[in-house]
C-alpha cells in the first residue's frame, strides 16, 4: 500500500481548499538543462519538512532542448496523485510561457526569469520575476557551469516565498550529490543568494506556503525502478539479461549500482550475480530463460516494445516450464508510442501473449513498497510454479519519486521450488521424470545443469514432450501436458498476492483498479464519500485472479474498473472471470499518457451514477 493509505487518518484534516501545505507547483523548463536536480531538491526539502509530497516529471522523448515540466503536489492530507490544477507555476521556458501561464488557477502564482520579455496575459495571478542571470553572475559561477546551476535560483526564490526550510534544501542537495562538497556548495550558494535576493526584493502577495508537519517521518522516498531493483537483490537475483529501453532502463542500472554494495558473497567477497546487457530483447529474454533453466534466479526488465519482441521466447518458457521474472515498466503504446509517458496498456497482451494456448502469471504492484516486495517475491513464485512471472509496473512508478514506507526485509525464506539435487535423485533411486505431476498441484520436479547424478539430466524443448521430456507428437500426451499446465495455474491462485480491499462492507459501488492509479483511487474514494457516494475499492494484485476477486465483484452491483488504457484491459479480464456478473462491470478506461487524477475517477462515476438513476 502506498504512503497515502498509511497516514494515520486522525493526523490529517481533510482540507482540499487550503493554501497551507496544500497546492501544486509546476516547474516548466527545457530538458537537458539540469532542472531535474532543482526540482528534486524542492521535492525532498518539502518531504524533509514533514509534509507529504509527490513529484511527477513530464518529459519529452529526446535528450536536450524540448519543453519539460515537473509537478510537485504538496498535500497535508497525503493525497499524492496528479491533480489537474496548478497553483504555482515556475515558467522558465519562453517557448511554453503562454501556455504555462494559462494553466495557473485564478489566484495562483507565477515565478519567471526577469529577462523573459513576454507580456503576462493574466491579471488574476500573482507574478514574481526572478533576476536569474544576475544572481548567477554575481555569485561568481564559472561560465561553463552557469546553465546547470541557474535553476537553483528558482529553488532559492521559492524557498523564500513559500517558506521552504533552507536547511532542508541543504540536506536535499547533500543527498543528491552524495556528499560531494564542490557541487553541493556551489548549488547551495546560489540557493542562498536567490533566497536573500527574494527576501530583500519581493513582497509576498500570495497565500501559499509550506509549514512543517511531522507526517513524513518514518517514510522514505524512492522510485519504483529502484524499489524493484532492490527487491530483486533481496530476492537473491543471480542473473539479469537486459536491453535499454525507457522507462525500464533504470531498473537494471540500479541493480548494477546496488548489487556490488549489497551482494558480495560473504564467504569469498566475489560476485554472486551477473548482469549482462544483451544486444536486443530477443537475446535478453533468451539469456534470462537460459539462466532460469540453469537454476538461477533470472530476470529481465523492459517496456512494451521489448515485451512484444519477447513473445516467442516467453511462450517457450511457459511450455517448457522455465521460471523467470520479466518486469514490464509500461509506457504508452501501441508501437513506439509515447516512450516517456505512463500507461497501463500492456495488461491484456501480457495475459494472452504468444501463439497457441499460453498463460502467464502477472503481478501488479500498486505501491513503491510492492515494487520492492514483488521484486523478491516474484522469484519465489516463478520457481515455485516453474513459469514466467510478468510484473507490470509503469513509468509513473518507475521513474518518479514517491513517498513510501521503509522497505521491509522479506518475511519468508527464499523458496527455490521443487529442485532435485544429486542426493534427492539418489534417494528416489533415479526414479524421477521432469514433467510428471507427483504432488497433484500440477507442478513437476526439476533438475538443473551441474547436477552430476547420471540420471539427473533431461532435454528441455519447446516442442511436444512427454513426462520424461522426450520428444512426442502423441495427441494424448500433448493434451495431458497442456491440461496439467492449466492445473498449475489453478494452484497458482493460492499463492499469488490477494487483492487489497478497502472497506469490506457491502456497498452498491465497487471501484476496481491496479497499479499506479492507487493514490488517485484513494483520493477519489474520499471525494465520493463527501458527495455521499460511498464505494469500496479493490486493488487487484495478481493474475490469475483468486476467488476474492470474484467475490468482491459479485458483492457489488456496479463495479467501476479504472485503468490507464483505451480498451479496458482489466475490465475485459474481469468479465471473463465473472461471466455471470459481466454486466455489472463498467469500464472507466482512459489513456492520454498522463497519470490519472482523482477528479477524473470521481466525475466519471458521478456521471454514470446520474445516468443510472436519472
Amino acid at each position: 500500500m502506498s504512503a497515502v493509505n498509511t497516514l494515520e487518518k486522525s493526523e490529517v484534516t481533510k482540507d482540499r481548499s487550503g493554501v497551507v501545505n496544500n497546492f501544486s507547483i509546476t516547474v516548466s523548463t527545457v530538458n537537458g538543462s539540469g532542472s531535474q536536480t532543482a526540482n528534486l531538491t524542492i521535492l525532498r526539502a518539502i518531504f524533509k519538512m514533514g509534509v507529504p509530497v509527490s513529484g511527477k516529471n513530464l518529459f519529452p522523448s529526446n535528450i536536450q532542448g524540448l519543453p519539460t515540466s515537473f509537478t510537485i503536489r504538496v498535500s497535508k492530507d497525503g493525497f499524492l496523485a496528479r491533480r489537474e490544477e496548478q497553483e504555482i507555476m515556475v515558467a522558465m521556458n519562453p517557448a511554453t510561457f503562454q501556455k504555462d501561464i494559462e494553466g495557473v488557477v485564478p489566484g495562483g502564482v507565477l515565478f519567471y526569469p526577469d529577462d523573459l520579455k513576454i507580456p503576462i496575459s493574466r491579471d488574476d495571478i500573482v507574478s514574481y520575476p526572478m533576476p536569474v542571470k544576475q544572481i548567477i553572475k554575481e555569485a561568481g559561477i564559472p561560465s561553463e557551469r552557469r546553465d546547470y546551476v541557474a535553476n537553483m535560483v528558482y529553488v532559492g526564490v521559492l524557498a523564500q516565498i513559500l517558506h521552504i526550510d533552507i536547511d532542508k534544501i541543504f540536506s536535499a542537495l547533500d543527498f543528491h550529490f552524495k556528499g560531494k562538497a564542490t557541487p553541493i556548495e556551489m548549488n547551495f550558494m546560489v540557493v542562498k543568494d536567490a533566497a536573500k535576493w527574494a527576501a530583500e526584493n519581493l513582497v509576498k502577495k500570495d497565500p501559499y506556503r509550506i509549514e512543517p508537519l511531522n507526517l513524513t517521518s518514518g517514510y522514505i522516498m524512492a522510485d519504483g525502478n529502484t524499489a524493484g531493483a532492490l527487491g530483486a537483490i533481496y530476492g537473491g537475483v543471480h542473473f539479469v539479461g537486459w536491453y535499454p529501453i525507457t522507462p525500464a532502463t533504470t531498473m537494471p542500472e540500479m541493480i548494477q549500482e546496488y548489487l556490488p554494495k549489497l551482494r558480495k558473497d560473504p564467504e569469498t567477497g566475489k560476485n554472486t550475480f551477473a548482469v549482462v546487457q544483451a544486444e536486443d530483447e530477443l537475446a535478453a529474454i533468451g539469456m534470462t530463460i537460459g539462466a532460469g533453466w540453469g537454476g538461477l534466479r533470472a530476470m529481465t526488465s523492459t517496456s512494451g516494445p521489448g515485451l512484444s519482441l519477447m513473445t516467442e521466447y516467453i511462450g517457450l518458457a511457459y511450455y517448457a516450464e522455465v521460471p523467470i521474472v520479466v518486469w514490464d515498466v509500461q509506457r504508452v503504446g501501441p508501437s513506439t508510442g509515447l516512450p516517456t509517458r505512463t500507461a497501463q496498456g500492456d495488461l491484456i497482451f501480457a495475459n494472452f501473449m504468444g501463439h497457441g494456448d499460453t498463460q502467464n502469471v502477472i503481478l501488479l504492484p500498486g505501491s513503491i513498497n510492492e515494487c520492492f516486495e514483488f521484486g523478491w517475491k516474484a522469484f519465489d513464485i516463478a520457481e515455485r510454479l516453474q513459469t514466467p512471472v510478468i510484473i507490470l509496473s509503469d513509468l509513473d512508478f518507475g521513474m518518479n519519486q514517491w513517498m513510501a514506507k521503509p522497505f521491509e526485509y522479506p518475511d519468508t525464506p527464499i523458496d527455490r521450488g521443487k529442485i532435485l539435487w544429486e542426493e534427492d535423485i539418489e534417494k528416489l533411486k533415479g526414479n524421477w521424470t521432469r514433467y510428471k505431476d507427483i504432488d497433484g498441484d500440477g507442478i513437476p520436479y526439476r533438475t538443473v545443469p551441474g547436477n552430476r547424478h547420471p540420471l539427473a539430466a533431461y532435454f528441455a524443448r519447446g516442442t511436444g514432450h512427454d513426462e520424461n521430456g522426450g520428444y512426442s507428437e502423441d495427441p494424448q500426451v500433448w493434451h495431458d501436458l497442456l491440461e496439467r499446465l492449466k492445473k498449475k495455474f489453478e494452484y497458482a491462485k493460492r499463492i499469488l498476492p490477494k487483492p487489497v480491499i478497502t472497506q469490506g462492507t457491502q456497498h452498491e459501488i465497487g471501484i476496481i483498479a491496479f497499479g499506479s492509479t492507487e493514490p488517485a483511487l484513494n483520493e477519489a474514494q474520499y471525494l465520493l464519500s463527501e458527495k455521499h457516494i460511498p464505494c469500496d475499492i479493490m486493488r487487484v494484485r495478481s493474475i490469475p485472479f483468486s476467488q476474492d476477486v470474484g467475490d468482491f465483484i459479485r458483492n457489488h452491483d456496479r463495479n467501476y474498473v479504472v485503468e490507464l488504457n483505451r480498451d479496458g484491459h482489466l475490465h475485459k479480464l474481469l468479465m471473463l472471470e465473472c461471466p455471470d456478473w459481466a454486466t455489472h462491470l463498467i469500464s472507466l478506461a482512459y489513456i492520454d499518457g498522463l497519470p490519472i487524477t482523482a477528479n477524473y475517477i470521481c466525475e466519471s462515476i458521478i456521471k454514470r451514477e446520474e445516468n443510472n438513476h436519472g
Binding site: H238, E267, G290, G294, A320, I414, R452
Partner: protein, 346 residues
C-alpha cells in the same frame, strides 16, 4: 595383453564406455552429415574422458538443431528457438561455470535468422563450442535456400539463389571470435580433433562444418555436397589434440609445425601440410579465407585461435561454488542491511 587392450577400448579413464556418451537414435535422414558430426562429438567426449554431466547441450531449430538429442544423453540439453541458441546458452552457462557448453546450430539457424545472436555471442567470447552444421539449405522445412547457399545454386522448386553467401568462418573472424575452424562432415577425424580442441578453449569456439543435406542439397556440383567436399577439401594442417599432462608423442618439427597450448593445459599439434600456417595470426587467417574463396576450395582446419582474451564469464569474478548452488545466506543480503538501505532512501 590382448585382454587389457579390449578393456581399454571399452572404458575410458573415468570408467565410462562409449555407450555412456550416446544419445537417442537419430531421426535424421540416412547419410545426413549431421549424424556423422554427432558421432564425432560422442567420440571426442569419450576419448577426452569428459564426464557427460559436465557438458550442457544447446541448439536452435532445424534438422541440425535436433542433433543434441542424438548424443550425450547424460548431459543436460535445451533445444531453444530458431536462431536463438546463443542467448539461451549464454544465460544457462552462468548457472555453473564449471560446465562446458556445446551448441549445435544450422546454417539457417545461425546465418539467416540467427545472425544477430551468432555475432554477439562471438563478440562476448562466451565459453561455448559453437558448431554450425552447414548444408547451405533449410533441411527441416524442405529445401529452401539458407544464407550460406552459394550464389547461383539451383534447388528444386526454389529457383536460383541470387545472393552472395554468408561465410560463417569469415564472419566469426571479423567478429573477433577467439577460435575459428572449418571442417567437413566427410572428414570425421578432423572434426573430432577440432571438437576436442574447442572443448579445451576458454572462449567461444566456432566450428563451421560443411555437413551435406543428402535429401535437398547434395548435387555433386554444389558447394555443400559430399562429392564437392571430398574433391575440394584442402586441410590447412593435420591436427592432433594432446590432452593436458599427456606427453606429446606425435613427432613434429619445430618451426615448421605448430603447437598451440590451450587453456586447460592441453595442446593442439598442427602438422604442416602444404605450407606453414600460424593460426594465431589474424591477418594470415584472413588471407587464407580470402584465398579459399578465390580458389574455390574447401579450406579446413583451425583457422584462427587467440588464447589470450578473457571469456565472458571470466570478467564477472564469480565464486567457485556454482551460482545455482549458493545457499540463501550467500544470495540474500543480511537482515541488518535493510536498515542502512532505507536510510539511503531519502
Amino acid at each position: 595383453m590382448a585382454n587389457q587392450t579390449a578393456v581399454r577400448t571399452q572404458l575410458n579413464l573415468i570408467g565410462l564406455s562409449k555407450a555412456d556418451y550416446r544419445g537417442n537414435p537419430s531421426t535424421l535422414c540416412q547419410g545426413c552429415g549431421h549424424n556423422s558430426i554427432a558421432n564425432q562429438i560422442i567420440s571426442a567426449c569419450y576419448e577426452m574422458d569428459i564426464l557427460p554431466e559436465t557438458i550442457v547441450k544447446f541448439s536452435g531449430i532445424g534438422c541440425s538443431s535436433k542433433s543434441p538429442a542424438y548424443f550425450l544423453n547424460r548431459s543436460f540439453g535445451f533445444n531453444g528457438l530458431h536462431g536463438r541458441m546463443p542467448s539461451l546458452a549464454t544465460g544457462a552457462l552462468f548457472a555453473d561455470c564449471s560446465l562446458k557448453g556445446i551448441g549445435v546450430s544450422g546454417d539457417g539457424d545461425t546465418a539467416s535468422i540467427g545472425m544477430g545472436q551468432f555475432k554477439h555471442v562471438v563478440r562476448r567470447n562466451m565459453r561455448l563450442v559453437y558448431i554450425i552444421e552447414n548444408n547451405g539449405v533449410y533441411g527441416l522445412t524442405k529445401g529452401q535456400f539458407s544464407a550460406t547457399a552459394e550464389m547461383g545454386l539451383t534447388l528444386k522448386s526454389q529457383g536460383t539463389n541470387p545472393y552472395m553467401p554468408v561465410d560463417i568462418a569469415w564472419e566469426a573472424l571479423v567478429g573477433h571470435a577467439t577460435f575459428v575452424a572449418r571442417s567437413f562432415a566427410g572428414d570425421p577425424k578432423q572434426v573430432k580433433e577440432l571438437i576436442k580442441a574447442a572443448l579445451s578453449h576458454n572462449g567461444v569456439a566456432v566450428i563451421d562444418i560443411i555437413s551435406p543435406c543428402v535429401t535437398f542439397n547434395n548435387q555433386d556440383t554444389t558447394l555443400h555436397s559430399y562429392a564437392w567436399g571430398k574433391e575440394h577439401e584442402v586441410a590447412l594442417h593435420e591436427l592432433s589434440y594432446v590432452p593436458p599432462a599427456e606427453e606429446i608423442t606425435i613427432d613434429y618439427e619445430e618451426g615448421e609445425d605448430k603447437e598451440v597450448i590451450l587453456h586447460d593445459g592441453s595442446s593442439v599439434i598442427l602438422k604442416k601440410l602444404e605450407r606453414a600456417y600460424d593460426p594465431t595470426d589474424r591477418k594470415a587467417a584472413m588471407q587464407v579465407l580470402e584465398e579459399a574463396n578465390a580458389k574455390n576450395i574447401l579450406l579446413t582446419g583451425l583457422i584462427y585461435i587467440n588464447t589470450e582474451q578473457k571469456s565472458l564469464v571470466d570478467i564477472y569474478n564469480l565464486p567457485d561454488t556454482p551460482l545455482n548452488r549458493l545457499p540463501e545466506y550467500r544470495i540474500r543480503p543480511s537482515r541488518e542491511s535493510i536498515k542502512q538501505l532505507n536510510d539511503m532512501m531519502f
